[in-house]
Each structure stands twice: as C-alpha cells, then as structure tokens.
C-alpha cells in the first residue's frame, strides 16, 4: 500500500522516492489499495511512474550552493578521485560532502581496522558497479562489475548515521555486502526491549533516510554471542527517518548464530516517517542450526512510531525447523494500524510460525503464506484486549499444524 497522498514531506524528493519504488516494483503488482471494504485498488502503470519521476525532477528544490562532485574509487586506487585517476575507498569517503556521488569500481573493499568497512556520516550517494572507464560516460553494471564490501567477519559492512538533509536523499546501490560481523557493537543497538550485543552485520542505519536499492547483502552476522540479543543480520534500522529498502537480495544472514536474535534479514526498530521495504528477495536467513529463540528470521519489526510498508517481497526459506523460531517470514510486535503487510510471498519458511503478530494491529492483505515446514501459517498473539487487525484476501495453506491461530497470550519471546 502506498499512501502517496499521505506522505508528510511535500517536496519533490518525496515524489522521486515514490516514483523510484514504482519503477523498481513489478508493474503488475503496483496499485493503491485502501484498507476498507468496497474499495477497489487503482493500478499504476510504468508510464505513470515515469511521469512521477519527471515531475519530481521538475519540482526538486534547488541544490546545495557547492557544486556536487563525482568521486571515483577502486580497491587499489591511489589517484585524485577523478574518473581518470580513482582513489581509495578511504580517501573517497574523506573527500565526499553532502550531495556528492561516489562511484566504485569492481573489486573487494575491506578495512584493516575500525567498526565498519564503510561509514556514511554524510548524505552522499554511494554506488557500486562502475566499469572503471577513465573517460566518457559513467557506465554502471553491478552484475558485470561487481563491487564488494567485505567485512571479513571482523567488522560491520556499512554504518549509515548521517543527519538527514533537507535537499539530499542519498542512494546506496549496486553493492555486494558480505561477511559483516557486528558482534560487540552494542552502542545504540536496541533489540526488542534490551541493548543488543550486536546490530546490523551488513548495514546499520541509525536515524538516517537512505534508499538502499538493488544490493546483494549476504553472509553477515549481527552478533555471534550467547550473552544477549543480536539484531538485523543483513540490515538493522533504528529510528528510521523514512528509509527505503527496495529491490535487494538479502540472504544467508544471521541475527545471532550463537544465541538469540531478531531479524535475520532485516530488523526495524522505532520507525519514524514512512518506511518502505519493498520488492526484496529475502531468503535463507537465520539458517544456522541453533535451538535458541529467533524472532523474525526474514523481517522483524518492533515498536514502530509511524507507517511501515512491507510489500511485494519474496520471503522464503528463512528460519529453522524449531519451535524457537517465531515469525520465520515476518514478525511484527507493537505494530500499529499504520503498518501494511501486503502482497508478499512467504513460502517455505521454517519454524513454529511463518507470519507472527504480537500486540499489533496492522493491515495484512494479498499475501500468499505457504510454509509446509512451519507449524502455523499465521499466528496472532496478544495479551491485550480490543486490538483490531484486518486480514483481507490472503491465501494461507499447507502448514504442519494450524493455518491461522489466535492465541490470547504473548509469544514465547526471549527473556
């Protein structure tokens, strides 16, 4: 669901963001839907997306006074960061200012020290897949020119903690982010109601509003400790100012392969502004074999303060065949009625239940939930009375025990 008319910030970039989503999402699945009976969804077409994008460009506010720069990097670069003479990752990041765009050539980017390989503490565009040509137009193809951020199991892949800008809306795209490990990075690491022992193995976002588009995020661990909770093996999102996570493949990540964790693929904690998780392929996360509580192996959401759109995602093969795995596709706790779980394919996930809601009242519609390896397809647990959820037009089938369970007790979440 896309409340285009309800998005708060009336600037061109809002339209640009929405247009981008529309462009990236599968055209046949795009529609505006209203959570009421007798309302018919209006389909958007690709052409409309293009029009919105063009309108956004026309309505963009004036750019910053300084001319924005293009910065070029390669793993072994030692030049002046120009296209003809790329520099290193470290020098490129040091040179970049608000609104700049970094283009990264193929190869593996690592760090010898520090908490992360990449720190984006300013709103800059950060693009992988550049072909490395020293002149001419900038050509990017992330499949042909693979740019890899490798945490080497020693540090996090990327930290994004810039203060949101009024004029710049940065994009991180075209990267492979792998082997991140955030064990011990517990500063501003909230998981459920506790301080975690590691958050965001692949990407950690705190209070920022990036668009994370068309990346491959795999084999990252939020934490590898049995002394507390890990959060967000692939992506951790804290106090989102309206982040967009769209068109990524997020697989093989773990929230905590040595203990308890939330959000093997993605963990969202305290969203602010509308947050979008759309058209991602989220699979085989939290697949380490450990019989300790894992919540939301695909996506875990906790404590949202504003809307979250979880739509058109393929969420499959997450979790393990254990009663300790709850919400192996999606887990939503304290999710308000501004959360929409819509048009997702939740298939072949493993655990006690595939979609789980706790103390929540989201709209759940148009999903296909088929998980023979899960005991329950859709679990609604709540200790409070009067919570209202709307569940429309879903297919829920082929589960080991129960198709739909309402249990008036909280889920057995970790203590």
């Amino acid at each position: 669901m896309r409340f285009i008319s309800q998005i708060a910030r009336p600037t061109g970039r809002v339209f640009a963001r929405v247009s981008l989503i529309l462009l990236l999402a599968h055209p046949s699945s795009i529609h505006i839907k209203e959570p009421m009976m007798n309302h018919k969804p209006a389909r958007f077409t690709l052409a409309l997306s293009v029009i919105l994008t063009l309108l956004a460009l026309l309505w963009m506010p004036a750019g910053p006074a300084r001319a924005v720069s293009q910065i070029f990097i390669t793993p072994n670069g030692s030049g002046d960061c120009s296209q003809a003479s790329p520099c290193s990752l470290t020098n490129g990041l040091a040179l970049a200012l608000e609104g700049d765009t970094i283009f990264a050539g193929a190869g593996v980017y690592t760090a010898a020290s520090g908490n992360e390989v990449v720190l984006l503490d300013q709103p800059v565009n950060f693009n992988g897949g550049w072909n490395g040509a020293p002149s001419g137009g900038i050509v990017r193809n992330q499949n042909a020119y693979i740019s890899i951020i490798d945490g080497q199991n020693a540090r996090r892949g990327m930290t994004i903690n810039y203060t949101p800008s009024a004029t710049v809306y940065p994009v991180v795209s075209g990267w492979t982010i792998r082997n991140g490990n955030a064990t011990g990075l517990s500063d501003t690491c909230s998981v459920w109601a506790f301080t975690g022992v590691g958050c965001g193995g692949g990407i950690y976002i705190n209070g920022a509003d990036p668009m994370i588009v068309s990346n491959i995020i795999h084999s990252n661990n939020a934490a590898m400790l049995d002394t507390g909770l890990g959060g967000g093996g692939g992506i951790y999102l804290l106090d989102s100012e309206g982040a967009i996570i769209v068109g990524n493949e997020i697989h093989g990540n773990n929230s905590n392969p040595a203990g308890e964790g939330w959000g093997g693929g993605i963990y969202i904690h305290n969203s602010r502004y509308q947050t979008y998780v759309e058209s991602n392929d989220i699979h085989n996360n939290d697949s380490s074999i450990i019989d300790e509580a894992h919540i939301g192996s695909g996506i875990a959401i906790n404590n949202n303060l504003d809307g979250i759109e979880v739509t058109n995602n393929q969420i499959h093969d997450n979790g393990q065949a254990s009663l300790s795995y709850n919400g192996s596709a999606i887990f939503c706790q304290y999710c308000s009625n501004q959360v929409n779980i819509e048009s997702n394919q939740m298939l072949d996930n493993h655990g006690d239940n595939a979609l789980a809601l706790s103390y929540s009242s989201p709209l759940v519609q148009l999903n296909t939930i088929i998980n023979p390896g899960s005991n329950t397809g859709f679990y609604f647990g709540s200790g409070a009375a009067g919570q209202i959820i709307n569940v429309f037009n879903n297919i829920i089938a082929r589960h080991a025990e129960t198709t739909f369970t309402v249990h008036r007790l909280p889920l057995p979440i970790p203590a």
């Binding site: 007798n38 296909t368 200790g383 709307n390 198709t403 369970t405 008036r408």
Partner: protein, 140 residues
Amino acid sequence: MTLFHNSLADAPIGISIENSPGLGSLFLQFSNGIVSGHSVTGISTSGPVTLVVTNTLFHANEADGVTGSDPFFGDPAFKSPVTYNYHLSRGSQAIDRIASGLHFDIDGDARPFGSGTTAFDAGADEFIHSLFFFLPVTVR
C-alpha cells in the same frame, strides 16, 4: 479482528482461537472465506470468544467446526495446490456464491466478476472467466 475473503487450506486445523479466561472477550469475524482440507477441524475455539462466521465455503475438513451463518459446501477446485497455486479453477464451488464483499482480490482483479445477486467468489481469488471462445476446428 476481521478476516474477509481468505483462503485457508490443507493443514490439520484451519482456525484455532484460544482465549484465556480472565482476559476479556475476544471477537473475530471470518467472512467470505474458504476453509478446506483440514484433517482435524476447520474452525475451533476455546475460552471466551465471540466468533462470527458468515458466507464461507467448507470442504474436505474432517470436521468443519464452527460454520456460522449461510455456509456452503463443495470443492473449491484450487488450481494446483502441489505447486502452491490456490487460485480457483473452472467449476469451483466458490464461484459466484456471495452477495457482497471486497471489491478486489489477491491479484488486484476487480470483484465481482460476473453478474447476478451472488456474484462475489469466496476466498482470496476471484475467478476470471476467459473472454475467448475456443471453437473447434472445422474441416472444410
């Protein structure tokens, strides 16, 4: 809690509602749905629960359980459950059975497709009839 136009199929239990005494009443409405292929029970409740079930197709459940008002019975004829395709196929007993409901289905197709006083299909999918007629080849 309102559940409209959901297709629930192929598990031991379709809907299980448990409410602990002392926590207050729990209300759930299940309408215009399909409950099919449950080897133990279609819909079951325990504890203080107010359950309203209307206009729902039941099929091949060992016991249907709570069927509510205006239930109907028959094969939903899902296209291919083995390949996870739970759309309706021609001849489904879910087609054109309900007088009112949501005006879109799981694919974004408009409901109802068809005419008459009960033009809405039960479940998540609205069956769209082919607009083409396939005539037999004639031999000159």
